[in-house]
């Protein structure tokens, strides 16, 4: 695979550039970076390999749908850390705090909008989800701003200290959550019209997971578009490679990175909101539970790669569901084993972007 510009979506971005250069013909001889489809094939191979093991086709289809939906939720939560860890090189173990905040804010919003969530109206239910999701993102993003200023900024470029202080920050944050919401678990039942499942052919699909998949697709498109089609995205990608040079070109990279950190935190809040809704129960450790999966996903996907993060999340989602059905005790081991196998195949992850 070509080492540079391995992010798939940079193709259309540079194609646009060709048109504006005024001489597209001059570029025809240039070997183009081809989209690397092998990691996507891996998703299909994993799914097909599980088919004979599961046995029943309808069960397999149901597990596959559930796995893909779970993958999308993990992707949303992980996409924030892709920006923060993958692109900014900040080992943020405090990411779990923003996930937990998202889940708790959602519980509070659902409680406050009980009249909306208890009505069998899809519009009102989706409205409640919309408010919960936006509130989760806003609070997680705002807390992320403070977290970056107080905890992360003094340790930029120092991985060991980053692990220690962000983990410490996450512990303090978890205790604060207990102080505000209480240490007990909080039930987070889905809104009335989104309870249960729909039957598509022989496949049983949870309604709430369909909503999560839709939101995941929006996040994916927005992230890919921002990183590959906007100047801000270009600045983020350049800043990861050579921060000093970006400043020498006249851009205030610190301000940009603060914005990226807040955006990453907001995405974690969104992921936490959806994760909480799908778990239907919120506990103070909810962020830490999903944090392990997130690190697996972004390391497996390739640091800084949005598409890699998606593929990694889908793989983890499928693997978790298949193994959870076949041998529940091996669920967590299976995700870690999958990461090890992928890294043996591609040591820099499925779609490496940064040179780390």
């Amino acid at each position: 695979m070509s080492e540079a510009v391995s992010e798939v979506v940079s193709e259309p971005a540079i194609a646009t550039a060709s048109a504006s250069s005024g001489d597209a013909t001059a570029t025809h001889a240039i070997p183009r970076t081809r989209f690397d489809a092998l990691p996507l094939l891996l998703v299909a191979v994993l799914a097909l390999a599980a088919w004979p093991l599961v046995g029943s086709s309808s069960t397999w289809l149901t597990l596959t749908a559930a796995g893909l939906a779970m993958g999308m939720i993990v992707f949303i939560a992980a996409s924030g850390l892709t920006l923060v860890f993958g692109l900014m090189d900040v080992l943020n173990f405090g990411h779990s705090l923003f996930i937990a905040l998202g889940a708790y804010v959602t519980a509070s919003v659902f409680a406050a909008l009980a009249t909306w969530t208890s009505m069998p109206s899809i519009a009102l239910n989706l409205g409640a989800i919309g408010v919960a999701v936006l509130a989760s993102m806003a609070l997680a993003g705002a807390v992320g701003l403070g977290f970056e200023r107080v905890i992360v900024r003094p340790v930029y470029g120092q991985h060991l200290k980053q692990i220690l202080v962000t983990l410490g920050g996450a512990i303090v944050g978890e205790e604060l959550i207990k102080a505000v919401w209480g240490p007990q678990q909080i039930a987070l039942p889905p809104p009335e019209a989104l309870r249960g499942s729909v039957l598509i052919g022989e496949v049983v699909v949870d309604k709430l997971r369909l909503v999560s998949v839709a939101i995941g697709v929006v996040v994916l498109v927005a992230l890919v578009w921002t990183l590959n089609r906007t100047k801000i995205g270009l600045l983020i990608r350049a800043g990861v490679q050579d921060r000093e040079m970006v400043e020498s070109l006249g851009y205030r990279i610190r301000r940009l990175f603060v914005g990226v950190f807040a955006a990453g935190s907001a995405l974690a809040g969104l992921g936490g909101s959806l994760w909480g809704m799908n778990q239907q129960i919120v506990v103070p450790q909810i962020g830490a539970q999903v944090n392990v999966l997130i690190f697996i996903v972004i390391i497996m996907g390739g640091l800084g790669s949005t598409v890699g993060c998606l593929v990694g999340a889908l793989l983890v989602g499928l693997m978790t569901n298949y193994v959870g059905f076949l041998a529940p005790k091996l669920t967590m081991f299976s995700s870690i084993g999958l990461m090890v196998a992928v890294l043996l195949w591609r040591p820099r992850g499925l779609y490496p972007v940064t040179s780390r």
Binding site: A4, T16, S20, A26, T27, A29, L234, A238, G250, R252
Partner: protein, 247 residues
């Protein structure tokens, strides 16, 4: 010199990690001309450029650009926004971005490719044809000479008031160096002010209007380039003496 200086360094001292590198640099860069900064390795040439850009802070003295002190309160992005472009010794090319993306980044006034100044782009393509050929190519895949051309073109993608270029000929084949010299000559015709660090005296002779020679963190000679080019004894004394003193 009669042309007023665009950039002035007065008694500039710079410390890096406890080491005293610049020991009171005095330098004036006249507007619209090319000033060559010569000297042996470790004389402080790169540190001087980086101090002007604010990448390393001056611990004493002043850096003045067009009448404004830029050493105290200006950060690197502010200094760049005054119209100063910097081409570092390692070229600072973003390897994972394409040539086109590198150029778009440098054009602060353009948010998208179609906002790039196409006439200026064509002018740059005329100077550096390889950039047009490899427009959509990842910059990391370019040869050393092509990367250097990209680095210089990037600094010129929009009109800038002052270009700081650090050893553009370093490590390049003679034919490539000649191409580079031709391109920089073309740039010189636009009367852009340039402060160019160079080890290769032939390149310096071909491009410079003025010369400043550094040794041990100080400017030890200033004058017209032609005067130095014609005076082999002066070359021997300044550059030869410098080498002998530190061998």
């Amino acid at each position: 010199m009669t042309t007023p200086p665009l950039l002035t360094l007065a008694g500039v001292h710079t410390h890096i990690a406890g080491y005293h590198i610049l020991h009171g640099v005095d330098l004036a860069v006249p507007a619209g001309q090319v000033t060559m900064l010569l000297g042996r390795n470790g004389a402080g040439k790169t540190t001087t450029l980086r101090t002007v850009m604010g990448l390393w802070a001056a611990s004493a003295g002043s850096v003045t650009f067009d009448g404004t002190r830029i050493d105290a309160t200006f950060g690197t992005p502010d200094i760049a926004r005054l119209g100063i472009a910097y081409v570092p010794e390692n070229m600072g090319v973003f390897a994972d971005l394409t040539v086109s993306e590198n150029m778009l980044l440098a054009a602060r006034g353009a948010r998208t490719f179609d906002r790039l100044d196409t006439a200026r782009l064509e002018w740059l393509f005329g100077l550096f044809p390889a950039l047009k050929k490899f427009w959509l190519y990842p910059a990391g895949k370019l040869s050393g000479g092509q990367k250097q051309m990209l680095a210089i073109a990037r600094a010129m993608v929009e009109p800038r008031r002052l270009l700081l270029i650090d050893e553009p000929s370093k490590g390049l084949a003679p034919a490539i160096v000649q191409n580079l010299v031709e391109a920089l000559r073309e740039l010189k015709r636009t009367e852009t002010t340039v402060l160019l660090v160079e080890q290769n005296f032939q390149v310096a002779k071909a491009l410079g209007d003025h010369v400043a020679v550094m040794d041990d963190g100080r400017v030890v000679h200033r004058g017209p380039m032609r005067e130095m080019a014609d005076d082999e004894a002066l070359q021997q004394r300044l550059l030869g003496l410098s080498l002998a003193a530190h061998s």
